[in-house]
C-alpha cells in the first residue's frame, strides 16, 4: 500500500465533505483503479467520477496513469468556468 493525497473540487468536494484527504491505495494503482476505490468509499461520487478529469502533481493525466507514493491527486469534475 502507498499513501497519497486526494484533492476534491466543486461538487465533488461537497459530496465528500472535505477538499483534501489522505488515502492508502495498492501499489501500482492507476487512475481507473483509484476511481473504483473512491466510488466504493463515496458511492455518491460515481456519476461525477465517470465524467471527471484527474491531475497528478498539477499535471493532467489519463486513466492508465500509475500513481506513486506521496502523489497529490486532484479529482476534477466537469468544468464550468468562463
Amino acid at each position: 500500500m502507498i499513501k497519497i493525497k486526494m484533492f476534491f473540487f466543486a461538487g465533488a468536494r461537497e459530496l465528500v465533505g472535505q477538499g483534501c484527504l489522505e488515502l492508502e491505495i495498492p501499489l501500482s494503482s492507476n487512475i481507473a483503479e483509484l476511481k473504483k476505490i473512491l466510488i466504493t468509499k463515496h458511492p455518491k461520487l460515481e456519476s461525477l467520477a465517470n465524467n471527471a478529469a484527474f491531475a497528478v502533481n498539477e499535471i493532467f493525466v489519463t486513466q492508465d496513469h500509475i500513481i506513486l507514493a506521496e502523489d497529490s491527486v486532484a479529482f476534477l469534475p466537469p468544468f464550468s468556468g468562463g
Partner: protein
C-alpha cells in the same frame, strides 16, 4: 501575455490598453457576464472556484497555443473567482492582431478552449437559497 485569476473586479479598459499597439490594426475583447436567467431558473449569484495552479497553467497553454495559430501581438486573460452577481464580468479575454479576422478567430478559439480545458467551476444560488454546482456532462454551458 498576461494570465490572471483574481478575486477583484476585472478592469477590461486596462486590458484593452495593454493590447493596443501601433503594429496591429485589430483588438477584440470578449467579456463573459453573469446572466440572471438560465432558461427559467433565476440566479441570485454565482460562486467560482478554481484549481488555481493548474487553471493558470492551462490558461498559459491556451494562450501559447493560440499564438502559434494566429499572429497575436498581445493577449490577456483574466478570470474572476469568488462571488459574482448578475451583470458582472466573470471572464475577459483580449487579443490584438494585425487584422480583424485573426483577432476574432483567436479570441473565440481561446474562449472555446477555456470552457473545455480549464479547471474552474461555478455554483449557482437561486433567490430561494438553493444552490448547485454546474458540472456539464454532455456539453459545456456558455
Amino acid at each position: 501575455m498576461k494570465i490572471q485569476l483574481t478575486q477583484k473586479a476585472i478592469d477590461h479598459q486596462k486590458m484593452v490598453e495593454n493590447c493596443r499597439s501601433k503594429v496591429t490594426g485589430a483588438i477584440v475583447l470578449f467579456l463573459g457576464t453573469v446572466r440572471e436567467l438560465t432558461g427559467n431558473e433565476k440566479t441570485l449569484f454565482l460562486e467560482y472556484e478554481a484549481f488555481a495552479p493548474l487553471a493558470e497553467k492551462s490558461l498559459q497553454e491556451i494562450a501559447l497555443e493560440s499564438k502559434k495559430m494566429w499572429p497575436i501581438h498581445q493577449v490577456e486573460i483574466i478570470h474572476k473567482l469568488g462571488k459574482l452577481e448578475p451583470g458582472e464580468t466573470s471572464i475577459a479575454v483580449c487579443v490584438s492582431c494585425p487584422h480583424r479576422a485573426e483577432a476574432f478567430a483567436a479570441c473565440e478559439h481561446i474562449m472555446n478552449r477555456i470552457k473545455k480545458m480549464v479547471p474552474i467551476w461555478k455554483k449557482e444560488t437561486n433567490p430561494e437559497g438553493g444552490s448547485n454546482w454546474v458540472h456539464p456532462i454532455s456539453k459545456p454551458t456558455s
